[in-house]
């Protein structure tokens, strides 16, 4: 928490703002997908492994990005143990801003309530020394789920005012679910909002999202960690103006370049590569990426995004091991 507050720390924390759930961990605590995405007890058991088995300094009970979308009525594909659940974005539920309907019981829907219950279970089990990070999705990501990616992206070009109206309406979901998680006991929240460099420009982030993200930082009463995948250096300057505590960044951005871009205005979390390193290589390669982040002054270390479900425990444990080794040597 000190790292999120920009205060001095004894050791750089190891953090999982998205997900470190794996099939191996599911087996160890008998908490497989999809149960661990829909029921509080297995959700909490699987989340706790980030600390109890992997040695991370935080836990994250939300392993995917679909809990709110399910509560909003999106068509879901829950999948099995070896895959993440996904929204069927080719079957969007809304066509225009007028269609948006946010139910009053959004945070008591079974797929959101289970998150709140899991947070309470984790707080009881882990006590105050492990940071519990929750997750509340940003309006840009929610719009992909509810309107379809292509339709929403085309709308953003054709009708900026309608796009802003959609985001303005959807922000209630982000705020309400975020506050509900704070009340349930989280220490911080990840806020994924996929205005990724693979899809839209940095100017888009500034035009559509920066002000909303400033509002989230003001209205949600806990430190926020913004997560955007892909190449994001072109928007890190805008992101650093939001007042959020940290930015969870992707390995497509070099640590030093990223640190120079944000100029200390926001902490960085990341950015160990998933597909090529954590999934495909060994602990020594993982450690090399951890060292590169620490050398650059990155404030919290963790995977760049939700880790592949087949990632080995040995590779994930290499992250906190590397952090300890680096500090021992410095």
């Amino acid at each position: 928490m000190a790292a999120l507050a920009g205060q001095p720390v004894d050791r750089t924390p190891v953090c999982c703002p998205t997900s470190v759930a794996t099939v191996e961990l599911m087996d160890l605590v008998d908490a497989p997908f999809p149960d661990a995405n829909r029921q509080a007890a297995p959700m909490a058991r699987l989340a706790a492994t980030a600390h109890t088995i992997l040695g991370f300094d935080s836990v994250m009970p939300v392993f995917s990005i679909i809990q709110e979308s399910s509560a909003l009525g999106c068509k879901m594909q829950w999948e099995g143990k070896d895959n993440w659940p996904t929204v069927r974005m080719s079957e969007p539920i809304w066509d225009s801003v007028d269609d948006i309907y946010i139910p009053n019981d959004l945070t008591s829907h079974p797929d959101t309530q289970c998150v709140l219950d899991a947070i309470k279970l984790l707080r009881e089990e882990l006590g105050p020394d492990v940071a519990i990070i929750g997750k509340t999705m940003g309006p840009w990501s929610l719009a992909y789920h509810c309107f379809g990616v292509e339709k929403f992206l085309l709308l953003s070009l054709d009708d900026p005012e309608a796009t802003k109206a959609i985001l303005e309406k959807l922000k209630k979901v982000t705020i309400d679910f975020g506050i509900a998680q704070v009340e349930a006991g989280v220490d911080a929240l990840t806020l994924p909002d996929h205005a990724t460099g693979d899809l839209v420009s940095g100017e888009y982030y500034q035009r559509y999202l920066r002000d909303l993200h400033i509002e989230f930082a003001e209205r949600i009463p806990c430190p926020l960690i913004l997560h955007i995948c892909g190449r994001t250096v072109d928007r890190m300057g805008f992101i650093s103006e939001t007042g959020m505590a940290a930015f969870h960044y992707d390995s497509k951005n070099a640590p030093e370049e990223s640190m120079q871009t944000v100029e200390g205005r926001i902490a960085l979390v990341g950015n160990i590569n998933n597909p090529e390193t954590l999934f495909s290589k060994g602990p020594e390669d993982v450690k090399a990426e951890v060292f590169a982040n620490l050398d650059a002054g990155v404030q919290m270390i963790g995977p760049e995004c939700a880790v592949p479900l087949q990632t080995s425990i040995a590779n994930l444990r290499a992250i906190p091991e590397a952090v300890r080794e680096w500090h021992a040597a410095h």
Partner: protein, 249 residues
């Protein structure tokens, strides 16, 4: 050698000057647009600007004026998408702009395709595309399909969450020589390799050349799973499809 000033359409001149950086591409597009009719330059400019109404009107007018459908497709629509592809590759434009240009392309092709079908003119080749089993993401695949169609390929889109058998059946039924698989998730990426193994197990691997792509997919991963080609983006996908079609001929 043609000069920029040989191109009549100011938008095309500006686009080449402002966005093209590689000498070979500047030369190729300058030569191309200096050669083609002003009406084709206008269509290409409307494609680049993502103006579907304008492309619709200009394509209809060009056909009325007796310009050949193939000429309109090659010198207007495809030429315009060529510039769009380069701007996308170089991050001058992003997905919303490309989607808009692809919509404009479709407006033009709506006039051209019936004529081509009736005349029996062959496409650049037939390509099957799909997102692998367990993965519902299709934006990358759809961009590739738009660029492939914009480059004159016939594309069979199998959609998302495509099972191994569905890929095999599609290849066997269509006779397509190239198959493209996409995945966005690290959990579904290995299903590309499983699909390739299914082709081997069914003894039909030699019937098709397989290319792969998607945000987490790399050249190394592509090589490891035994794919024939990898594309990092939609433009690379088109180049790879051309290369594979040529090697299959």
């Amino acid at each position: 050698m043609a000069e920029l000033s040989d191109i009549q359409n100011q938008t095309i001149q500006d686009e080449i000057e402002e966005y093209l950086e590689r000498a070979d591409e500047i030369e190729r597009f300058t030569e191309l647009f200096a050669r083609v009719k002003p009406a084709m330059q206008d269509i290409a400019a409307a494609i680049i600007e993502g103006d579907d109404d304008e492309v619709d009107a200009l394509t209809a007018k060009a056909l009325e004026n007796g310009i050949d459908a193939i000429e309109i497709m090659d010198d207007g629509l495809i030429a315009g998408m060529g510039i769009v592809g380069i701007k996308f590759r170089e991050n001058f434009v992003f997905v919303p702009e490309v989607l808009s240009c692809a919509r404009a392309m479709r407006a033009g092709m709506a006039h051209i395709e019936p004529i081509l079908s009736a005349s029996g003119i062959e496409s650049q080749g037939k390509v099957i595309m799909g997102t692998v089993k367990g993965d519902l993401h299709d934006i990358g695949k759809n961009l590739c399909i738009m660029m492939l169609r914009g480059s004159g390929f016939e594309v069979i889109d199998l959609g998302v969450d495509v099972a191994e058998d569905t890929f095999i059946d599609a290849v066997e039924e269509s006779g397509a020589k190239v198959l493209g698989m996409s995945a966005l998730l690290t959990t579904t990426m290995p299903n590309m390799g499983r699909t390739i193994e299914a082709f081997i197990d069914a003894d039909v691997r030699d019937d098709v050349l397989i290319m792969v792509g998607g945000a987490p997919v790399t050249q190394e991963f592509s090589d490891d799973m035994g794919a024939d080609g990898y594309g990092a983006d939609a433009l690379s996908c088109v180049a790879m499809a051309k290369e594979l079609i040529a090697s299959a001929a």
